[in-house]
Each structure stands twice: as C-alpha cells, then as structure tokens.
Amino acid sequence: MIINHPLLGPRDSAEFIYMGDAGLINRPDPETASGEEWYAYAYLRDNPAGEHRELWWHEGGDRSWLVVTRNTVTHEISKVEIARDVARAQGRSK
C-alpha cells in the first residue's frame, strides 16, 4: 500500500508501523471518566469491514503518527491526517 503522508508525500506502507483503531487518541479524562470508559478504551476496538480510521507510525521516516482513513475491504485510503492535528481538533492539549 501507499500512504500519502501529508508532509512527505506518497510513501510505501513498509515504512510504517500499524497500531489499529485511531480511537486510542480519545483517552478518557482521568478526572471524570468511569471504569466502564477506561475498560472500553483499553480493550474494545471496532473491526469494521469498510471504512476505518487507524493509526500508523512513520517509523522509517519522520516519526509522525498519522490517522489514516482506510477501507479494510478494498484498502482504498481516502484520507491521511497528522495525528497531532486530529488530537488538537478533538480538544487534547497537554
């Protein structure tokens, strides 16, 4: 597969390490989250046949974490974002 890195252009997927569901960015708020929320965050992952937002780490490149929107059936990649931007957009800060 080829991942179109937002900063570096098209790169072979062999340069990346895959870490699955991009939901990992949504770490529960330690102040308020319930045990159920922590359980879901640590253990529950969607495994859709179709569009999937997932984390890829550019280990063999600039070490960016990316959020790649990929169709797990066709492998078509419709969107590639810098994970840091996604995290910020979701309200994460420090």
């Binding site: 597969m1 080829i2 072979d12 390490i17 870490m19 990992l24 960015i25 770490r27 529960p28 330690p30 989250a33 045990g35 922590w38 359980y39 965050y41 640590a42 253990y43 984390l55 780490w57 280990e59 070490r63 960016s64 974490w65 066709t74 492998h75 078509e76 990649i77 994970a83 840091r84 931007d85 996604v86 995290a87 910020r88 994460r92 800060s93 420090k94």
Partner: protein, 979 residues
C-alpha cells in the same frame, strides 16, 4: 544425435549447436530452443510421470501454463525440481532429469497405481488413511510422500544470490504480444514513461507462433523492428524474462526477472533472479489467452497437446512432436495448426472437427461432426479412436494429437484484488470483469479480442485512451472473426484428464459431486483440481463446465474459484532476496565490539545487537568459570560492561518533566537537576511495560534509558503519547542509542578507576557525586561525556557515556588505567547474575503479565498525578488479596538446582495446576553465595518469607525443596551503592 523432428524455419540459430542431457542421454539443440522444443525435435515426447498414477506424460503446452513436462533442472547444489521444460531456455551443457519415476522414466514401478485407479479417486486419502489415527504420521505419510510428490530438492544451500529492486513508471504493460507491443509503441512514441514486461525471453507473444504476414512481411520482421524501436526509446524499459506475478494495492506490482536462468551459472556478481516491486500509475494487461483442451478418454498420452502448442513448436522452434499429426478441434483455430504443419511438410492424418459445418481443406482430410473418443500408445500416442458423425468408429494412426477447445483470456491479474471475471456468451469464456484492480485496463486476447489485428489495435487504443494521446497505426494483418462454441468433453468419457498435473479426471469431478461437494471451492479442494503448481491454467474451465452440467447450472452460475498471486510458481529464494543467513536482519555492533573480539569474547544475539556474553581467559574450560570470575572480580574490585545497547531517549522542552510524569507511573516533576531516578512505565491496562532511568541534565532536558529489548517499542510509545495525547506539550524526543557509547563501571574500585579518567575539574567523590547523581563532564583531557551514578550490579557503580566514535578508545583506556585494580570486563551473563543477586527485575519479570504491585513497586504508582496505566492498575482484579509478589528463592539443600519456568507448590500435597502458588522467572548460580538462587512470583509472596516450598518442573522432571527469601540476596541494605 539427429534432430529427426526438426522442421524448416523457426527462430533458432542453426549455426550454433548446444549439447544437453536428459536422463543421462545427450542431445543437440540450438540457441532459441527451450528444453521442451529441443527434446521434441529429438523425437522425445515422454518427459515425465504424473503425480498420482505415474502415467507417462509429455508436454501439453508451449508455455508457462505447462502441467506435465516438469523436470529437475541442473545438478548438485543448483538442482531445481519442478521446472517447466516448456519455459527452460536451452544452454550448452544443460542437465535435466525426469522426476517422480523409479527406476526409469520408461519403466516406472509406481505406474501400478494406474491399475488401482478405482481406489485412488477423489478423496482417496481422506477416506483411506483415517484409521488408525496413530498410523498417519509413522506409516501412511512417509509412504505417500515417497510415492507421490514431484521432484527432489538438492538438500544443499543455494549458491546463488537473489535481489530485490524497485521501479517506477507511468504505464506498466504486462505482456509483449501484439497488444502489448502496440501499446508500448503508442506510449513510447509519445515520450511517456513505460515498462513493458514479458515472461518470455523473446518478445512478440503469439506473433512468434504464427505465420500471418504483418504489413505483407513475416510477423518476425515487424516484431524485430518494433522491439528495436522500443529499445531505442529512453523512456521505455523492456523487461523480457520477467513475470508479473501479482497485482497488489495502490498500483504496486510484483515481478520476477530471471537474470541468469538461461545460463549455466550466473555471471560473476549477478543475481539469479530479481524480485521487482513496480510502482505504476496505470497498468495495461496484455496477458493473452490460453488454449483450452477437450476431455476424452486417455487424453493424457505423450504426443497429445494443445493444437496451438504444436503450432508454436512448429513455427517458432521448427520442431514437431511427430511426423504424423491429428487435430481435434471445435473451432477454426485448430485448422490453422493443421495448415501450418502441412506447410512444413508434416503429415496431417486428419482434422477431426466436432462441427458439422467445419471448413474444407484440399490439403488434408477434415472429418466433420466427429470426435476423438479414446487413444492408444503405452509411452506415447500411437492411435486415436474416432466416433464419426454417423456413429461409426474409426482408428487413425498418429504420433501427435493437437486438441483445440477454444481460448480462455488470461484474466488472472484482474482478479488479484478479489475481482471476478464475467462470462462472455459469444466467446463461451470468462473475460475480465468490471471490478479490476484500480488503474488497470485490459487489452488484446486477455480482454477477449482474439484476432491479430484486433489485438494490435486494441493495445494501441487502450494505451492512447489511458494516457490521452494518439494511437499508433497498427500493421495490416488477419482480422478473422472468432466464434467459440463450448465443447468441453466427449460424451461418456470417464478417465479423461482435466488436471493433468494433479491427475484429476472427469470421473473424479463426477464422484465429488455425487458425494456432495457442489460448490466450486469444495470441488477444487476435494479433487485437488487446479491446485498443482500450474494452478489449473489449462484445467479449471473444464472442471467448471462438467460441474455446471452435473448441477444443471450454467458456467457463470457455478462461478470460478479465486485467482491469487503468484501468477506462476515463484522461488522462495527470490522472495527472501538478500535476507538470508546473517543478513536476515541487520546486525548492530557495540562500540566495544572489535576490542571485545580481540579479547576473545563470546557473543550473543540480543535483538539485532551482538553483545559480549562472557570473556573467557586461558585455563577456563566452561562458561560458568568465566562468569563466576567476572562476578567475583566486579564485586571485589572493578568490572566494566558495555551497556550501549540500552535504549537512550533524549527528552527536551519546557514540558519535559510534565511529559515524563505522564509516561512513568512514578513522579519526575520534582527530580532535581543533576539527579537520576528509576522509572517504571505501565501500559494503559496497568501492566508493566518497561523500566529504566531518567537523568535530569537541565530543567528542560532529561536522558531516559530503556531496556535493550524494548528500546524501539518504548520510543514508539513515547512518540504516541507526545503527539496523540499531549499535542500541545513543548517536548521533543530523539533516540540517541547509537550516539553514545556507554559503559557500566562497577565495583568498590570503580570510583578510583574513573578518577584516573574523568578530568580533575569534576568532583566524583561520594559527596561531590552521590548515589543517583548525573551530569555532563569531560574525560581524558576535554572529551565531553556524561556520568551517571547508577547501579544494576548493586555495587558502587557508574555509567559513563562518550560520543560513540570514542567508545573503542574509552574501553581501551579503562582497561589500561584499570590494570592496577585488575579491572575485569564482564558480559551479559555476569550482568544477569548480579542483577538476580540484587533482585532487580528484567525482561523475565517484566513479562507482559505483571503489574507494579507484582513487582513489589505498587507504591511507586503515584496517586498524585495521572499517568499512563495508573487508572487501570487500580482495578480490583489486579489488587486482590493473594496477588503474586516477587520473591527470592534458594534451595534448602545448597547443592540443588533451580530452574526458571518451574512452579511453586506447597511443601506437601498434590502437584497440579489447581495448587499452583507461583513460578520462577530467573535463576542463576550465585558466586557470592555459592549456591543457586532464583527470582519468582508467589501468591502473597511478601508475607511468606522463610516458608519452605517445592519447586516443580514437570518438563525437566525436577522437584526441589526451596525456601522463600527476600529477592535481595546481596547487600540487602544497599550500603555498597552508596559507598
């Protein structure tokens, strides 16, 4: 030897004669020949024995789809089984052997299987070798393996090299037949970036097999001129001898180029094959078509071939399988073979055409509305038996029979991303479907365009359409309309071969249907139809057709099985490329490696690293002697160990402390500059991930260490936390593992040794540089260095780091300066012994199942702040009474052995999983205590010190009485590290 079946013409160089041997007999051939064409020219039809029944077999085809003529090529360590004689290029000195026969090809003892064929039908193995179950491995399997199977391996290491390479283009054209060549011409003349790949050594595809004129000249003239023009274009790369084996995601294609297979040995410095990864924007598939056979009784005798293959042998290689040939066809293409053979003075016994309206010929007899129903000839065809239109029988004497059942487009690559071909009623064949791999277009015969002119123009037009350019003009040539009516098998046939390589007959398909295997996928697996190395290129359609008739459905309703890469058999060697032996992964050498090698160190692989395991000296006969000495020397005076392999991560930024507070479960915000602290990282689920130290060199600068094994993983994790969880934190990370050579200098004399090296401006006395201090210093008169007063051994110890390029010099300096203290280098074994003596956790304890609590560090998990894993480490299930806790273990009888992996059971009572109390993770002989010691996890371990238990290892048959003790075997008060 005479080449009695050599005809006139052909693309062979008769001025040069090549000698080759087949089964020990020497023959002559010419450059341009394949092994199969040369053998046929020498009147050799019998080239192999079939897989199951050991039936005599000759070539069926003239290309890579060949099921029968597979041989062992070359000898010695280059011997390669299952090589298709039809694609093996002839070279001088070629050595080939037939396979799957004993004692000889002409007399094969296992041919007795053929007599027992009633028992050896589909599912034979499943049915017969079920009972008794114990017999399978010891009795049945070895016998079957010996009897069945194909060629044999050399059992020696492959002496040749294989490579991998990467190529990029705008348009990849797969197949250099009429469509592919015209496409390349169109794109090439427009200056576009093109790769044209073809599995054959001669480009031209089907043009090489035909006698049509192109632009009123022989086709070879046009092909030669076209290839010459393409070669002259700098934007066109021709890749002959290259099979595109798979269409992968996002325009990535796999291709195997056979660089040296046509030579006796690869030229100096050249690989045998290269696996290319071709990145392309667009692909044009011009893979052509494969002729299909017709099933009739005994249709597998040597001499019975696809009609087009006989034509190819005659026209391209000037060879014929026999001087008298019959053609059995259901379409006009079969007549072309007859006409071409006749023109080369081969006697046509008859053309048997299933159609009542077959075309007439004045040159040979055409028998209309007739069928071949059976054949004779033990080691090769002698007679064909016909059923005439009026029902009467007739026997025709012939040495070869060309069978033509029409053509199937080669759609394989169109299906590599789960696309399915669609049925074309006019051609009675599957053609590429709508869901092609993105970026792929199909042209020529592969798309069902079977006339030569049609293929030429379709290639040109497809390339023009893809690239938005003007198509090149195609040469004038034949443009006959092609109509194909289905005719798959002769009424009433039974032992009629569909899959000749796996010996699957019409009868087998019927049987499997009878037994309930009605989906094509089941049919395939039960009968093994299409599962041989040829992947059923000549057989799948016949099987489908029979299945369709049996279930009363149409062929498209029955559907096809899935085509998967690779298109043709691919050597494991070329997939591995250079990655074999020590090159399987990179080898990382420590800065002291060459020095250690000079010292005669024994090395051990730790991940990609090679680390010194111990340093034997004269007189030491076993590793324990060396390790014990290294431990004693370190504890008594001073030892040095290369610990460069531990991961080092530089953490900088105003939020560096905040960041470390997040990744470590214990606190780092208040760590003073110039101090180091032990840190434990948890996974988010509360399980321990890794441990190490972090030294604070400045307010905004920490140096983190990780274990050797987890260096990469921890760095990845820290980057995840930084970018995804703390996107606004001002913190930067970089791995500096390779940047610094780092040595542990341990033992009571370590300070004295270092004082001889550290520049005098730096006070490293106990007051000036106390336990857990760190700082930037200089050594040896100005060389920048880092010093950490940390200890894994439990002794007064330091770790000193210098830029990597000074690592070799530093170890030599330490050794020279340490002579007065008998400084001793120690390896990973002594390191391990000393950390077990101190009860320090390592990989065995941080094993992915243990929590901070288990490790005796439960209180380290700070409640004052949030960190990764802190929340879930509070889960009730991880904090129940009776949780495992790390303990030390020593044998009650000092001479007894302790092994890691053993389990702890009460002193008396049953020994089983239900009564399991814990397990031992690490064990070593302690030179300090003079007996074995261990670390382990025991339920409620902290409150059970002094208890006697049994250590049980059913695997090693060990039962030992042990005492549960503190994990800190040596200097439990920790006085030495603070000395």
């Amino acid at each position: 030897m005479t080449q009695s079946n050599r005809l006139s013409g052909g693309q062979i160089d008769r001025n040069t004669t090549l000698k080759f041997t087949f089964d020990g007999k020497t023959y002559d051939g010419h450059p341009g020949d394949t092994l199969a064409s040369a053998l046929l020219a020498n009147n050799v039809r019998l080239m192999g024995r079939s897989f199951k029944y050991h039936r005599p077999r000759g070539p069926l085809t003239a290309g890579s789809e060949e099921p029968n003529a597979i041989v062992e090529l070359r000898s010695g360590d280059r011997q390669e089984p299952n090589t298709r004689a039809t694609t093996a290029e002839l070279y001088d000195g070629l050595v080939a052997k037939s396979q799957n026969r004993w004692p000889s090809l002409a007399f094969d003892a296992m041919a007795i299987n053929d007599r027992f064929s009633n028992f050896l039908t589909a599912g034979f193995y499943y049915k017969t070798f079920m009972w008794p179950a114990a017999f399978w491995e010891k009795v049945y399997e070895p016998i079957i393996r010996k009897a069945a199977g194909l060629g044999s391996l050399s059992m020696q290491a492959d002496p040749d090299a294989y490579d991998k390479g990467f190529r990029h283009c705008e348009l990849l054209i797969v197949g250099a037949g009429p469509a592919g060549l015209m496409a390349a011409l169109t794109a090439g003349r427009a200056g576009r970036d093109v790769i044209l790949a073809d599995e054959d050594f001669a480009m031209g595809g089907q043009l090489n097999s035909e006698t049509f004129a192109l632009n009123d000249a022989p086709a070879l003239d046009w092909t030669t001129a076209t290839v010459a023009e393409l070669s002259s274009l700098p934007n066109v790369r021709l890749m002959p001898r290259t099979t595109v084996i798979g269409a992968f995601d996002h325009g990535i294609y796999g291709a195997v180029e056979r660089i040296s297979d046509h030579l006796e040995t690869p030229p100096e410095g050249k690989p045998r094959q290269i696996l290319w990864r071709i990145y392309t924007q667009k692909t044009l598939l011009c893979a052509g078509a494969t002729e299909r056979s017709i099933a009739f009784e005994n249709n597998d005798r040597p001499g019975i071939m696809l009609a087009s293959a006989i034509r190819t042998y005659a026209n391209r290689w000037a060879a014929t399988p026999a001087q008298r040939v019959t053609i059995f066809t259901n379409n006009d293409d079969g007549h072309r073979t007859a006409a071409d053979l006749h023109a080369k003075h081969v006697n046509i016994a008859a053309v048997v055409d299933t159609r009542a309206d077959a075309p007439f010929s004045s040159d040979y007899e055409v028998i209309k509305g007739a069928q071949v129903v059976d054949t004779k000839g033990r080691l090769g065809l002698t007679f064909a038996e016909l059923r005439l239109a009026n029902g009467e029988s007739r026997t025709v004497e012939c040495g070869a029979l060309g069978v033509s059942g029409g053509w199937n487009p080669n759609v394989h690559l169109t299906c590599h991303q789960r696309g399915r071909p669609t049925w074309n009623e006019d051609l009675a064949a599957f053609v590429p479907g709508a869901d092609l791999p993105p970026g792929m277009t199909v042209a020529g015969a592969a798309d069902g365009t079977f006339s030569t002119h049609g293929a030429l123009t379709s290639g040109a037009n497809a390339a023009a359409r893809i690239l938005d350019i003007k198509p090149s003009d195609a040469p004038t040539t034949e443009d006959a309309a092609v109509r194909q009516t289905p005719f798959w098998f002769v009424e009433g046939c039974s032992r009629a071969w569909l899959d000749q390589q796996n010996d699957v007959t019409v009868k087998d398909v019927k049987l499997s249907h009878q037994e309930g295997f009605r989906s094509v996928e089941h049919l395939k697996r039960y009968t093994t139809l299409g599962m041989a190395t040829d992947q059923g290129k000549t057989s799948n359609m016949g099987g489908l057709a029979i299945m369709a008739e049996l279930v009363g459905k149409s062929i498209p309703e029955v559907g096809t099985t899935i085509f998967r890469p690779p298109y043709t058999p691919t050597a494991i060697g070329v997939l591995g490329g250079r990655m074999r032996g020590m090159d399987f992964h990179p080898t990382r050498l420590t800065p002291s490696h060459f020095w250690a090698k000079e010292r005669g160190a024994v090395f051990v692989e730790v991940g990609n690293w090679l680390r010194a395991q111990w340093f034997p000296i004269a007189g030491e006969t076993n590793w324990r002697a060396s390790v014990d000495r290294e431990v004693r020397a370190t504890r008594n005076s001073v030892g040095v160990c290369d610990c460069t392999t531990l991961g080092k991560i530089d953490v900088q930024g105003t939020d560096a402390a905040l960041f470390l507070n997040k990744v470590y479960c214990n606190g780092f915000a208040k760590l003073a500059v110039g101090k180091t602290r032990y840190g434990l990282m948890l996974r988010e689920d509360g399980i321990a991930m890794d441990d190490g130290t972090a030294g604070r060199l400045a307010e905004d600068h920490f140096v983190v260490t990780t274990t050797t094994a987890n260096a990469g993983k921890v760095y990845q994790h820290m980057e995840f936390v930084r970018q995804c969880l703390m996107p606004d934190a001002d913190v930067q990370l970089i791995s500096t593992t390779e940047a610094w050579a780092q040595y542990a200098v341990a033992g009571p004399n370590s300070r004295k040794l270092l004082q001889k090296i550290v520049d005098p401006a730096f006070d490293i006395s106990n007051d000036g540089f106390p336990f857990m201090a760190c700082g930037n210093i200089t050594v040896c008169g100005g060389l920048r260095a880092r010093l950490f007063r940390i200890s894994f051994s439990g002794e007064l110890a330091f770790e000193i780091a210098v830029p990597s390029r000074y690592g070799d010099a530093l170890i030599r300096k330490l050794m020279a300066q340490g002579e007065e203290f008998d400084v001793t280098p120690y390896g990973t074994e002594a390191l391990g012994v000393m950390r077990i003596e101190k009860g320090h956790a390592a990989g065995n304890e941080l094993n992915g199942t243990t929590t901070a609590l288990n490790l005796g560090m439960g209180r380290m998990v700070s409640k004052a702040k949030d960190s990764i894993g802190s929340k879930l480490s509070e889960r009730a299930g991880l904090n129940e009474d009776g949780a495992l806790a790390q303990v030390g273990i020593k044998p009650v009888n000092a001479a007894d052995k302790i092994t890691a992996g053993g389990h702890l059971m009460a002193a008396t009572g049953p020994v089983d999983a239900k009564h399991d109390q814990g397990y031992v993770t690490s064990a070593a002989f302690s030179p300090s205590l003079d007996h074995m010691i261990g670390l382990g996890f025991l339920k409620d371990g902290g409150s059970r010190l002094g208890e006697t238990m049994r250590l049980v290892s059913p695997v090693t048959d060990l039962t030992v009485e042990v005492e549960i003790v503190s994990a800190h075997f040596v200097d439990p008060e920790g006085e030495r590290v603070r000395a």
